[in-house]
């Protein structure tokens, strides 16, 4: 029988990945890398928002950070052309 690999990001960790295989366990390394890059960006945004916004809960800081990190490309464009951010996809 062949041996197969599944991939996950260290930032999620194996325990979490096993609990949420559909979003954290990947058949390809590339997908796990993409997940890892999102988590890396989200961590930095969470620290930034926590520093800047008084009273923001850890849960909300994390959710805001993930929402932005998961839409990195869109956000990149919106920083130059803000009305793109909430434009409904045609």
């Amino acid at each position: 029988m062949a041996v197969q690999a599944v991939y996950f990001s260290d930032r999620d960790g194996l325990d979490m990945a096993l609990k949420h295989p559909d979003t954290m366990l990947f058949a390809s390394k590339a997908e796990a890398d993409a997940r890892d890059r999102i988590l890396e960006l989200a961590e930095e945004i969470q620290v930034f928002l926590t520093k800047k916004v008084e009273g923001l809960s850890e849960e909300h800081a994390e959710a805001c950070a993930m929402a932005i990190a998961e839409e990195r490309d869109l956000f990149q464009k919106a920083l130059k052309k803000p009305d793109l951010l909430n434009a409904s996809p045609e």
Copy 2:
């Protein structure tokens, strides 16, 4: 006597600008334009975060949006290189 102009963003409005002249009333049109662009971006980010993050208060959505909009250039770079976002300025 000469006539002088002070400038403010419509998004702030005259009432608010008069209450917060140091941050909302400007001697040059360019500065008011810069303020207006920040507010334009912040409005879109606030809508985005409110849609994506359940339970986020309007106040926190606005504060997160302004924090990002005021650091547009830094954020632009951080989307490509996340560790820049919280790097302490040398």
